[in-house]
């Protein structure tokens, strides 16, 4: 059996006295797409942020592509080269053009030459279908376009795994489709992805495995069909009912 790209073993995490994650374990194999669903406050974002070391953990171990998530700055940077992260609020750099947004990290973190970085920027922009926006500033783009640029920016680092945290939640409904489509194409190309989402359609049709987080732990998980068609726990059944009504 191959090593999982992402492996969480018995993660615990608290803010002060509030325990946010309790004994979370999860394996993500290469090329696998895992969707994470759950109520607000169940710890989905926190788990995702632990994977690339944005949050520290109190217990358990996380390994990503052979790196153990530790706290020394240098090791964390090496790990983060392998992990792309896309945020709900895009977080593009407003003072840089699309190209500069994308080529910044390759140039600085990977010490890549300018023209090589530009080549990469062109390639990833084509991948998200925004080649013509290469010289635009973020504010000149729609929300959906900004989010696609943010995805391209992560791709430019050639990560082994991509993390998505409710990347369509801040978008107008008519703009979510273009972003989901880009993510679906990424999945088809074999990218390993962990996707926190409220889009049940995406979870059902694109994800290989679905995880239901509840009260800070992995409450139930399974392949997409089994997960949605025959949920075992009453909590998941209720969650699925309530999200269908919406």
């Amino acid at each position: 059996m191959s090593m999982p790209v992402v492996s969480l073993k018995g993660i615990t995490k608290s803010y002060g006295t509030i325990q946010v994650l309790r004994d979370v374990s999860l394996d993500v194999e290469a090329g696998e797409v895992v969707a994470v669903i759950g109520r607000s406050g169940s710890g989905k974002s926190t788990m995702l942020r632990c994977i690339n070391g944005l949050e520290s953990i109190q217990g358990g171990t996380i390994t990503v592509a052979g790196h153990v998530v530790t706290q020394t700055a240098k090791q964390l940077r090496e790990l983060r080269r392998e992990v792309g992260m896309v945020f709900q609020s895009f977080n593009l750099f407003p003072h840089l053009t699309v190209e500069q947004n994308i080529s910044l990290a390759p140039r600085i973190a990977k010490k890549m030459a300018a023209e090589q970085a530009r080549g990469i920027a062109c390639r990833v922009l084509e991948q998200v279908g925004l080649s013509e926006k290469i010289d635009a500033y973020p504010q000149q783009l729609s929300g959906g376009q900004q989010q696609r640029v943010a995805i391209a920016r992560s791709l430019a680092m050639e990560p082994k795994v991509m993390l998505f945290d409710e990347v369509t939640s801040a978008l107008d409904p008519e703009l979510t489709g273009e972003v989901l489509k880009v993510m679906e194409q990424l999945a088809e190309r074999g990218m390993t992805m962990v996707v926190v989402t409220h889009e049940m359609g995406f979870a059902r049709h694109v994800a290989d495995n679905v995880v239901f987080m509840h009260k800070g732990t992995v409450w139930e998980q399974g392949t997409a069909e089994v997960f949605f068609d025959s949920p075992r726990t009453p909590e998941l059944q209720q969650f699925l009912r309530s999200s269908k009504v919406k």
Binding site: R80, G84, N91, L92, H95, L104, I108, P138
Partner: protein, 232 residues
């Protein structure tokens, strides 16, 4: 009115006025450059550095901002020799102006850094950048853009406040004016001309800063204002 203005007597000294004004410009120009460097380092120390450094820089800022420049000039002028530093009055003046502006610049720049959403920082971290790289490439320019008007106003205040260093006879414009007043006894004429020179220099500095702003923040001219407001 029995008073007869005699500008000609004073204007005969225009070479000396211009020399004084030139030194004022040089002094404040240097103070602006060095003070801004202190401001950047101070702001970095307060936002990124360890507790104790934050505390020291904070104390520096508070002491400077809550005492008059006049007293700071005297303290440096009389205090530096005590620690064995040799200097001219002009150098003491430059030192005082720099230390003074450095404190204000530290607070202004820090406010700019803190106005940048933390998510920008996290985006940089996620892209495998170091804290210093994030500061330099991601935080600095947007922060500078936010505080540019406040920083520019502070620069202008430094230029104008430089007249105070005349108390140690620093040879800049106000010192020259006082000497000429002592020679000609035409106080009103001397200080009218001096004031006009300061006003001209202040307006000049503000124009230069405005132009520099256009160059530094290219995006402002590229992005339409309405579009900008609907953005992040």
């Amino acid at each position: 009115m029995s008073y007869r203005f005699q500008f000609d007597v004073v204007l005969a000294q225009s070479d000396r006025f211009i020399e004084g004004a030139a030194l004022t410009l040089q002094l404040s120009g240097e103070a602006i450059v060095f003070g801004t460097v202190i401001g950047i380092l101070g702001a970095l120390a307060r936002t990124e550095g360890p507790r104790w450094l934050d505390w020291i820089v904070g104390a520096y800022v508070e002491v400077i901002r809550n005492t008059p420049l006049l007293v700071q000039v005297f303290l440096l002028f009389f205090g530096l020799p005590a620690v064995g530093v040799k200097f001219t009055a002009t150098e003491a003046a430059l030192f005082a102006l720099t230390v003074n502006l450095g404190a204000y610049a530290t607070e202004i720049i820090r406010a700019g850094i803190e106005a940048i959403p933390h998510t920008q920082f996290e985006a940089g971290l996620s892209l495998s950048l170091t804290r210093l790289q994030i500061f330099r490439h991601i935080i600095f320019m947007p922060a500078l853009e936010i505080i540019y008007p406040a920083l520019g106003a502070q620069f202008t205040l430094t230029l104008l406040a430089s007249s105070i260093v005349s108390v140690v006879a620093a040879n800049e414009l106000t010192t020259v004016a006082q000497i000429i007043e002592g020679e000609t006894f035409r106080s009103i004429e001397v200080y009218t001309i001096t004031t006009l020179l300061y006003i001209a220099m202040a307006l000049g500095l503000r124009s230069i800063l405005a132009l520099l702003g256009l160059v530094l923040f290219r995006r402002r001219r590229v992005v339409q204002p309405q579009v900008r407001m609907s953005g992040i």
